[in-house]
């Protein structure tokens, strides 16, 4: 299988992770080795150029699709068994589980595609639970007529993304729907992870005095998607920030683990929505400084033109952390040591005033309440 972007690195800290034990006879035992970048078998050819209804019908054509596209890409013993499910061995401790469905249009966008996003999204949700991903599942809903080559590219991208994180895709499902009933391909991924010992993050754990950190620039993903969406296309070099946060978060937890109160990835609804949720669950007030929130120049420009507030625009590779005040500087350093955290910043703090509300101090010194998003953000007329 041809894949130029194949990245075979395994995060170093994965090896230090003691909560997961892979039992010798378990299906998972050999996975890391195969994911670590062995040669990929040439995929058997598929006669058809485009997905047909029969590719989801359970017969020979479906088997050929699996043999040709999915099995070689995600090659691992659990999947190779083609059983109804996969077995995972864990020693003890807490498990985290998360699921997400991906319906993005267009399928390929600057900085990623639906395949890499489907891996990163679920890996990041697990990371926000303080968990290292142990295994992913992948469910596909393919639209009749989808070019097989497009599917190969997406699956190849998922393979690269999963290999980069060091997480196997252990079981999956494929369905085909009539032409016109899907948007090319929809993907669902579910992830299971093992929560690091001693970590208790929760959205209701923010306390007055705690500091609010962002791991980098906001609104990159939403602006990148808008820039290529039909009807709004505009020239920009902005790329999606789609990236796996497992490693970045592991570094943070290594540094200040016990003092991390809240971990969230501000995807749909952006940073504003996550802050509002935390303020409500924690019954605490949050104060942020507009001038401290990292936003790329070109992203700010695009948001100004489109009439969008970057605080409400989606991210796919950023993490918002609330941490005890005495650990804020160490948390910031831990972030900045990692390539994905180079632009990290302390953007505000938790206060005893205005419980349940988020207040932003503007650049010119005024204050306003940050509310939850209503409906979908749409570009304004003027």
């Amino acid at each position: 299988m041809k894949d130029k972007n194949m990245d075979t690195r395994r995060p170093d800290s994965a090896a230090n992770h003691t909560a997961v034990r892979t039992a010798p006879n378990a299906a998972t035992a050999a996975i890391p080795a195969s994911l670590a970048g062995g040669p990929v078998c040439p995929a058997p050819a598929l006669e058809e150029d485009a997905i047909q209804m029969a590719h989801g019908a359970g017969g020979r054509m479906m088997q050929r699709l699996l043999d040709s596209v999915f099995l070689p890409a995600f090659d691992n013993p659990a999947l190779a068994l083609q059983h109804d499910g996969a077995f995972l061995d864990v020693e003890s401790g807490r498990l985290a589980v998360s699921t997400d469905s991906f319906v993005i249009s267009p399928l390929f966008f600057p900085g990623g595609d639906i395949g890499s996003l489907a891996v990163h999204g679920t890996v990041n949700d697990l990371a926000m639970c303080g968990a290292r991903p142990l295994a992913l599942t992948a469910g596909y809903i393919l639209e009749e007529g989808l070019p097989v080559e497009t599917l190969r590219r997406i699956v190849g991208s998922m393979r690269s993304a999963a290999a980069h994180v060091g997480v196997p895709i252990v079981t999956g499902d494929t369905k085909v729907v009539d032409r016109g009933k899907g948007d090319g391909v929809f993907i669902n991924t579910t992830g299971i992870g093992v929560v690091r010992a001693g970590i208790r993050v929760s959205p209701d754990a923010a306390r007055p005095g705690d500091r609010i950190l962002l791991s980098g620039t906001i609104a990159d993903h939403g602006v990148a998607i808008l820039s290529v969406r039909r009807g709004i296309e505009f020239g920009t070099t902005v790329e999606s920030d789609s990236a796996p946060l497992a490693d970045l978060v592991a570094g943070l937890l290594d540094a200040v683990g016990a003092d991390v109160r809240v971990l969230r990835d501000p995807t749909r609804g952006g940073v504003a929505s996550v802050l509002c949720e935390i303020a409500a669950s924690s019954k605490a007030g949050l104060r942020i400084e507009e001038s401290r929130i990292p936003v790329r120049e070109e992203v700010r420009g695009a948001c100004e033109i489109l009439g969008l507030d970057p605080l409400y625009v989606a991210n796919e590779g950023k993490c918002l952390v609330i941490v005890a005040p005495e650990s804020a500087d160490a948390a910031l350093e831990a972030f900045r040591r990692h390539p994905l955290g180079a632009a990290a910043a302390i953007v505000g703090e938790v206060v005893a005033d205005h419980p349940g509300k988020v207040v932003q101090r503007s650049r010119i010194g005024g204050a306003r309440i940050v509310e939850r998003l209503s409906g979908e953000p749409l570009p304004r007329i003027c």
Partner: protein
Amino acid sequence: MKFVDEYRSEEHARAFLEAIQRTITRPWTLMEICGGQTHTLLKFGIDELLPREITLVHGPGCPVCVTPIELIDQAVEIARRPEVLFTSFGDMLRVPGTRSSLLGAKAAGADVRMVYSPLDAVSLARQHKDREVVFFAVGFETTAPANAMAIYEAARLGLRNFSVLSAHVLVPPAMEAILGSPDNIVQGFLAAGHVCTVMGYREYEPIAEKYRIPIVVTGFEPLDLLHGIWMTIAALEEGRWGVENQYTRSVVRDGNLRAAAILEEVFEVCDRQWRGVGSIPLSGYRLARAYERFDAAARFAVATETAPEPSDCIAGLILQGRKKPNECREFGAGCTPEHPIGAPMVSTEGACSAYYLYGRR
């Protein structure tokens, strides 16, 4: 960001606030015309930084808010026709009509697409010769030239499958309607900088003279607004009236002559219904005779049944600056952006939505 950060400096904002404080000796009520200005005032917390003597009331300058419900109903009915590919700016899509919004029609199967430029609608008409492409041409003088250009372009290309539903509105007649009302409380205006970029400000001069009121053409950045407020207060305190221009980096007295020429070519002035306000003479544009064939309202004779505006909504009073959004009984309770009763809560540019979004409860 260049040309933005310069106008958001805390140091300069403080200097303007001090200048306003030094100048003011008694209470004044100012109206900013444009919804974009309302948003800047609230988003940057300027309203709470100003001296207490200043009352800001919010004008009718939100095109989505003042588009009559009949036109939304008409748009929805046209969009539902199978041959129609209906295009609109984003924030018009979720405004509720009597039975449905355009987004609701889309969910029910209509081909409704958001465009960012009216010329994109023309491109769609060129690509889909077998479809009727309709553009919902909404906006003040700011947006009208681009809409006119799209119609002009469609005529030049000889497109037969393109038409517009025109809902254009004009600022000066609305200002006169406010000033002419016996209940008027506005003592000074911040005129809409972008409207004046297109139209210039000659047409405001007789209004300022007739009603002996200062009108300051003002931009949209925080420092623009503080500067404009200071200029207006200074004029009021000195007993001066007339038109002044704060937004000199964008506005000249004669406006953009080429934009005016295309407006003159494609449109003619007509009476227009304003949602929540009523009919204002000579306050809108319709297609000029030579371009009548692009009028979607004539091309698609759709029947609509429009319910009267809800009686517990005070949108009309808010759009005329006689009430503030948080003085409405329904604000934040029965009327929220998720379940709006009146248009100023629907549009992101509406005053009620701004009060809600920025927490002015």
